[in-house]
């Protein structure tokens, strides 16, 4: 049973990790907590449902469609809710937080109207493929989710540290004006980042749809709040920390259900947030700097 629960925990944790990667990317560059990330994730999941279950198209089309739609959403998010606030005099640092909360409310209720309030089934033959090892059943989807999450993490770390675009991104994160003076097209860099983060949300959405066969408009909120907890656990803007934090939270939640009281499952994430912020604001894997947590 422990082994099965660990597999459950790793699956859940990998999904958390992909969601958290999107969060941490935007935070790393813009210093903004994107509260709408969970809702973009939910939209990705719905697109997956519509393409596969309603239109009956193959899975890869669903991935492409979800990536396209979430990319557009990411662009709109940047254009409408973030860019107008940037570089404006007298705008408090809380403004982007509030405006992304606005986007999240808007998207959640929009999806009520577009997709209905209930759960949508995600029917796909791929989700049924399973491997039997002894008494333990592992679904191919579970392995796929883990692999995708690790691959995304590695790709992201590589992109950030090795490629030119990644370097531009980090320069922008360091100092917007300086980067802009040095010839980095900061506007484009920021837009790209938000789009990439949103697309990762969309991919996570489809994976959740496949793994749990459950897609509903409320899923964005709980997933978004969990993602938030993870980036704090792993350290803001820290790609590897997000991965580790995601896995940790997934396993912790699974174990508390398995050996403790399932009612307190949701509290794990939030109690973690509070304690981490108070005891080690830079996160478990963050470097200790004077300004962290400020």
């Amino acid at each position: 049973m422990l082994l099965e629960q660990l597999i459950n925990g790793i699956t859940l944790g990998s999904i958390y990790a992909i969601v958290a990667l999107g969060f941490t990317l935007v935070f790393g560059v813009l210093g903004i907590i994107n509260m709408a990330h969970g809702e973009i994730f939910m939209f990705g999941a719905f697109i997956g449902v519509i393409v596969t279950s309603v239109m009956g198209l193959p899975l890869w089309v669903a991935f492409i469609a979800a990536i396209a739609v979430t990319a557009v959403l990411g662009y709109m998010l940047e254009r409408i809710a973030l860019r107008p606030l940037r570089g404006k005099q007298g705008v408090s640092h809380l403004a982007p937080l509030i405006s992304t909360i606005g986007v999240s409310i808007l998207l959640e209720n929009l999806s009520h109207h577009l997709f209905g309030a209930g759960n949508q089934p995600f029917r796909n033959a791929f989700a049924e493929i399973q491997i039997q090892i002894g008494s333990i059943t592992i679904y191919l989807v579970q392995i796929l989710i883990f692999v995708i999450s690790v691959a995304l993490m590695l790709a992201l770390s590589y992109w950030l540290s090795k490629t030119k675009a990644g370097k531009a991104l980090r320069a922008t994160a360091e100092n917007l004006e300086t980067a802009s003076l040095l010839g980095v097209n900061t506007k484009r860099t920021i837009t790209t980042t938000v789009i990439i983060a949103s697309v990762m949300g969309g991919i996570a959405g489809i994976l959740v749809g496949m793994a749990f066969n459950s897609v509903n408009p409320q899923m964005g909120l709980s997933m978004g709040l969990k993602g938030l907890a993870i980036i704090i656990l792993g350290g803001m803007g820290n790609v590897k920390g997000a991965m580790a934090g995601g896995l940790l939270l997934g396993i912790a939640e699974t174990l508390i259900v398995a050996y403790g009281d399932s009612g307190y499952r949701d509290a794990v994430a939030f109690i973690t947030i509070i304690f981490i912020l108070l005891l080690r604001p830079q996160g478990l894997f963050g470097k200790n700097t004077a300004e962290s947590g400020r």
Binding site: T11, H112, A117, P121, Q218, V257, A258
Partner: protein, 387 residues
């Protein structure tokens, strides 16, 4: 100077919004007066307020309920024994809003009764207020314990969990010779929590061994952890107090994991949507319900046909309960002989064995339902009688 212009624009727009707001308000309150002139001999004519959950996450319930009302309304007015007018208001599933619209309806003198609100949480707030003001109020979907006990003006026609769950559980235990059960419930919802309390009490009464009690939350998508735990404990039955939305996903994940034992659900689990969402995984769900759409009763079939023709989908339990509720109100009005709140309350309390699509209906002394539930099971992709 520019600042003045800018600011005055701002002020003007705010005032415009306020004026717009005031206008909106007026139109909704004044339209309550036009039926006053109809107090002539003829049939009793009355206006009934409806509070329903029309916007927000649970809007699907409110939609089914108002559809049921509207269908019954047409038929009743066509027959002409009584004339009813409905004033339908939205509560968005929130207590404050339900209370506000209830005040609005109650303070309009020509409204003789209120149907709704949709949720038991809302009824807990609205019920005492209605009772104090002496206006009959009838819930059509409020199944939690203690609702009709709020006061003598509070009724319901929805089958409470305390009737439904024992019926289903007894039959299932008998058939499968079950000894041990696992209980699952949504702990952040009044409806499912209340169902769980009944389940636990009934299971304990029947001497069943409860191997574990697990909880989940609204909108949760991953149930693997708790299902793995349950699989390990290997109960004979799983009792799930869930709304169909979460319930269907739980069944799907359970079957995938290889849990093959039957599920027993409460009232909220009983919906054709379960089959839609979970597909073949929904096989083996047992529920007790007042509503069975495939019943070979001409009354039921006529209702299903009409409803499908009008709204393009099959009626669920909520639509059926609403449909019957308006007939109960009509019967009450007919017997009362006048559109008076107190006379209507007394007439409602005396209703006995009224034939509806849900079966024969009576109120007990407290205004609660007296009715025999039907036990159904999902088999071959549809609900069938469980025997």
């Amino acid at each position: 100077m520019r600042k003045i212009i800018k600011n005055s624009y701002l002020l003007i727009s705010v005032f415009m919004l306020l004026i717009l707001a005031a206008c909106g308000n007026d139109t909704t309150t004044t339209d309550g007066n036009d039926s006053e002139a109809e107090k002539t001999d003829g049939p009793v004519s009355a206006k009934i307020g409806v509070i329903s959950y029309l916007t927000g996450p649970g809007a699907a319930y409110g939609e089914a309920i108002t559809n049921g009302f509207n269908l019954a309304l047409e038929e009743i007015n066509e027959k002409g024994e009584v004339k009813i007018e409905l004033d339908i208001q939205d509560s968005a599933g929130k207590q404050e809003q339900a209370l506000s619209v209830a005040q609005k309806l109650m303070s309009s003198d020509d409204i003789v009764a209120i149907l709704g609100p949709t949720l038991s949480t809302e009824m807990n707030v609205v019920g005492p207020e209605a009772d104090m003001n002496g206006i009959p109020i009838m819930g059509t979907s409020t199944t939690a314990a203690g609702i009709p006990q709020i006061g003598e003006y509070v009724f319901r026609n929805s089958l409470p969990e305390s009737l439904a769950i024992p019926a289903a559980l007894e039959k299932a235990v008998e058939k499968f010779d079950a000894k041990s059960v696992a209980i699952l419930y949504g702990n952040d919802d009044l409806f499912t929590k209340s169902g769980f309390d009944t389940m636990k009490a009934v299971a304990e009464d029947m001497g069943l061994d409860i191997v574990t009690i697990e909880t989940f939350q609204k909108g949760q998508s991953d149930y693997n952890a708790l299902l793995t735990k349950i699989k390990d404990l290997n109960p004979d039955l799983i009792l799930a107090s869930a709304l169909y939305n979460e319930g269907a996903v739980i069944m799907d994940q359970a079957r995938k994991m290889g849990i093959e034992v039957p599920f027993i659900g409460g009232n909220g689990f009983n919906s054709p949507q379960v089959i839609e969402i979970a597909g073949p995984a929904s096989e083996g769900l047992i529920v007790a319900t007042p509503w069975f759409g495939d019943k070979e009763d001409p009354k039921v079939q006529e209702f299903v046909g009409k409803y499908e023709a009008k709204y393009g989908k099959k009626p669920d339990q909520f639509a059926a309960q609403a449909y019957d509720a308006l007939y109960i109100m009509a019967e009450g009005l007919k017997n009362a002989g006048e559109a008076d709140r107190d006379a209507l309350r007394d007439a409602l309390a005396e209703i006995k064995d009224l034939d509806g699509v849900l079966g024969k209906f009576s109120f007990d002394e407290e205004g609660d339902v007296v009715m025999d539930p039907t036990v159904l099971v999902i088999k071959d992709g549809k609900f069938q009688l469980f025997e």
